[in-house]
């Protein structure tokens, strides 16, 4: 079923929603200490970007927006793969995943 543009909510609302989602994701990234939760917040931020692109694709009638989202998803998948690999290799020995413990690279 293809929704017609006439029956859609205004693009502005979706854009605001995406901005809020981005904000929430950013706040969570800065505030939580667990590496895995931080990753999930990054996923939230990526999703907000996707939402923005799709909204613009709709309003500007341009398929490029959706194509970009496609690629973002691919990259996000790759990123999660490698990132969780890192998390596993770093936190294998410890019992917690708190990133605050990884502070040897201080000046």
């Amino acid at each position: 079923m293809i929704a017609s543009s006439a029956t859609n909510a205004p693009a502005a609302w979706y854009l605001v929603l995406a901005a809020l989602l981005f904000g929430i994701g950013a706040f969570g990234l800065l505030t939580r200490r667990s590496a895995l939760i931080m990753f999930m917040c990054i996923e939230l931020m990526l999703n907000s970007v996707n939402l923005t692109f799709v909204t613009f694709a709709r309003t500007l009638s341009d398929i490029s927006g959706q194509a970009i989202v496609f690629f973002v998803m691919v990259v996000a998948a790759a990123e999660v793969t490698v990132g969780l690999g890192i998390v596993v290799s770093v936190f294998r020995r410890r019992s917690s995943t708190s990133v605050d413990e990884l502070s040897e690279m201080k000046g």
Partner: protein, 623 residues
């Protein structure tokens, strides 16, 4: 004429170079011959030049040697001016120098650095001749500095003695202070007249404003006080007695110290423009003469008495310049050269006979042991005291007569000084040659011996000159006298010697009376040395505490400022600025280091804050 005049200058220079280059291969006798011969040759040529000048059409001859400085509007040639004043100076400078060179060959015998002595002495004569023969202020200044330098070298001849080294430095530094005056005078004259050669300056001098003229005169006075040891720069001369006695005789009695007077006399056309300047000169001269005489009464070292006596006599000369009696000043300069050199060389003979003892308390009764030194010294003593018919009576009398006509208070000061002169010289004479023998300790029981002929011949010659020196300028002879010869040089001829004959006789009588009062006082007091101590006043002995005052006011504050600079300013301000830069760089680096906390979340926060800033900027731009 030009060639002859140039050779006056060249002989001492050749002597200097010869001794410098070949000296180490020559023995004492040869060095002595070269050194003395150079000056004797110079004297001979000076006589020849004098005769030529007498028969010359003009009394001012310029001898151009070469073009020296030529920059913009400043043209300073290396040129000589042969005129009555300069040739007079040359004659007595070379004559006395020749006698003293001869004397030194005996006095400095077996000194370890005989060569060095004659080296510097010849260079000194060259510099002095350059000073008096130059035709412009800059070349004079070269000679001026040259004599100061040689004086420094010769005063600290015994440089391994701390006191001698310090005395040399003191002499040089005081001279330097005076040199500032000469430089300022040169600057002032050049800035207004655009020339520095004497003849041009004199012809244009009338265009100077009174203020500039006065400033120039005062600057020249400053230079003169430095070189001729007047107040306020006289303290170096007594200390300069650390040098060997011939040096004291030549440089610090007869020649260098008269350079200041020569400069003022040479610049007489400029002096003519400033009556306040001349008054200052006269006051300085008179006061110095008096103060120095008081100090001389209480000195224990024979050479120090003579040193202060020199300061005092030059004070008379400066006083004469101040009242415009230039001829009298030069006359006194020449006769002073005769008798002061005589006295110094005589004291050198005494010191030599007592194996170096200079303290008068350890002398006495030497008359019978020194058959040539004693009579010559006696003549010198009578001359300086002003007893007729010796030269001192005529020359000092000439000065005092001129002063009387212009400034009565200064004349009174002059007469008081004459009394004191008689007193302190008689005291010196009595303590040294008469009375009980107090020197047996120093000579280890031996009798003192007379000096060799090289030392006594100059004494005899100088004594003869002191006797007949008065003939140079007898008061009733106006044309064929020294005064007459010199008059064309002075742009301003003081109205001197126009007192009535009765006044002149009266003044002469006053002079003689003053001398006799001084003599009698000394003979009475100093017959018995034990009564002496109450007549030697410590305040006078310590030079009116002048040195202490300079030390307290100038020396110590400057030293403290330098110390402060070294302790505080150097490490804190200068080093501090540089290390401060380094320290602040280090501290800022350490501070910035803390940004790298090691926490990922801090870095993420930094990124987000940066993003926020960028967005605020963009919003602001759109708004």
């Amino acid at each position: 004429m030009a060639a002859v005049a140039t050779w006056i200058l060249l002989f001492p220079l050749i002597g200097f170079l010869a001794i410098m280059i070949l000296g180490r291969y020559m023995n004492e006798r040869q060095i002595g011959v070269v050194g003395t011969g150079a000056v004797v040759a110079s004297f001979v040529f000076a006589i020849i030049t004098f005769v030529l000048l007498l028969h010359h059409s003009s009394r001012e001859v310029t001898v151009n040697l070469f073009s020296w400085i030529s920059v913009g509007s400043l043209h300073v040639p290396a040129a000589l001016l042969v005129d009555p004043l300069s040739i007079t100076m040359c004659l007595f400078v070379t004559g006395i120098s020749a006698l003293i060179h001869l004397y030194s060959t005996g006095y400095m015998h077996t000194e370890k650095d005989f060569r060095k002595f004659f080296l510097y002495l010849n260079l000194f004569v060259f510099s002095m001749l350059l000073l008096v023969l130059a035709n412009n202020l800059v070349l004079t200044f070269v000679g001026w500095e040259g004599v100061g330098l040689c004086s420094y070298w010769l005063v600290s001849y015994y440089f391994d003695r701390d006191s001698a080294a310090s005395a040399g430095k003191k002499a040089f530094i005081y001279n330097r202070v005076g040199d500032v005056g000469m430089l300022i005078a040169m600057f002032l004259l050049f800035s207004r007249l655009h020339t520095l050669s004497y003849l041009s300056v004199f012809s244009k001098a009338g265009t100077l404003s009174p203020t500039i003229a006065t400033l120039t005169v005062l600057a020249l006075l400053l230079a003169a006080t430095g070189k001729s040891a007047q107040i306020p720069l006289f303290n170096w001369l007594p200390d300069a007695m650390e040098g060997p006695t011939p040096v004291s005789a030549l440089i610090h009695a007869a020649t260098m110290v008269t350079a200041g007077v020569y400069l003022l006399v040479r610049m007489s056309p400029v002096l003519a423009l400033s009556s306040s300047g001349r008054m200052t000169i006269a006051v300085i001269g008179g006061v110095t003469a008096f103060v120095a005489a008081t100090i001389a009464t209480s000195q224990k070292d024979i050479k120090k008495v003579l040193a202060f006596s020199t300061v005092s006599q030059i004070g008379y000369m400066v006083l004469a310049v101040g009242v415009g009696a230039y001829g009298a000043a030069i006359f006194l300069m020449i006769s002073h050269a005769f008798f002061k050199a005589l006295l110094f060389l005589g004291s050198g003979s005494v010191i030599h006979s007592l194996n170096g003892e200079q303290d008068m308390r350890k002398m006495g009764g030497l008359a019978k042991y020194l058959p040539l030194t004693f009579p010559t010294f006696l003549i010198g003593w009578l001359t300086i005291s002003g007893i007729p018919p010796f030269a001192g009576f005529w020359s000092k009398g000439d000065v005092l007569t001129n002063v009387f006509e212009h400034n009565k208070p200064l004349w009174v000061l002059g007469v008081l000084t004459a009394i004191l002169t008689g007193y302190y010289m008689s005291r010196l004479f009595v303590l040294t040659f008469r009375g009980t023998e107090r020197f047996r300790e120093e000579t280890h029981g031996h009798d003192p011996h007379e000096s060799p002929w090289v030392m006594t011949v100059p004494l005899v010659v100088l004594a003869a000159l002191s006797i007949v020196g008065g003939l140079l300028d007898l008061p009733w002879v106006h044309h064929d006298s020294l005064g007459g010869f010199l008059t064309p040089t002075f742009g301003y001829v003081a109205a001197g010697g126009h007192a009535s004959t009765l006044a002149q006789y009266g003044l002469a009588a006053v002079d003689v009376a003053a001398a006799i009062i001084g003599l009698l006082a000394a003979f009475t007091i100093w017959r018995d040395i034990s009564s002496s101590t109450k007549y030697e006043i410590p305040f006078l002995e310590h030079v009116w505490h002048w040195d202490d005052a300079y030390d307290a006011v100038i020396g110590r504050p400057l030293t403290e400022a330098a110390q402060f600079s070294d302790d505080v300013i150097e490490p804190r301000v200068i080093d501090g600025a540089i290390t401060g830069v380094a320290v602040s760089v280090r501290r800022s680096g350490e501070g910035l280091r803390k940004v790298q906390s090691g926490f990922v979340r801090h870095y993420a926060l930094a990124t987000v804050l940066g993003l926020a800033v960028v967005l605020v900027y963009l919003v602001a731009r759109v708004a």
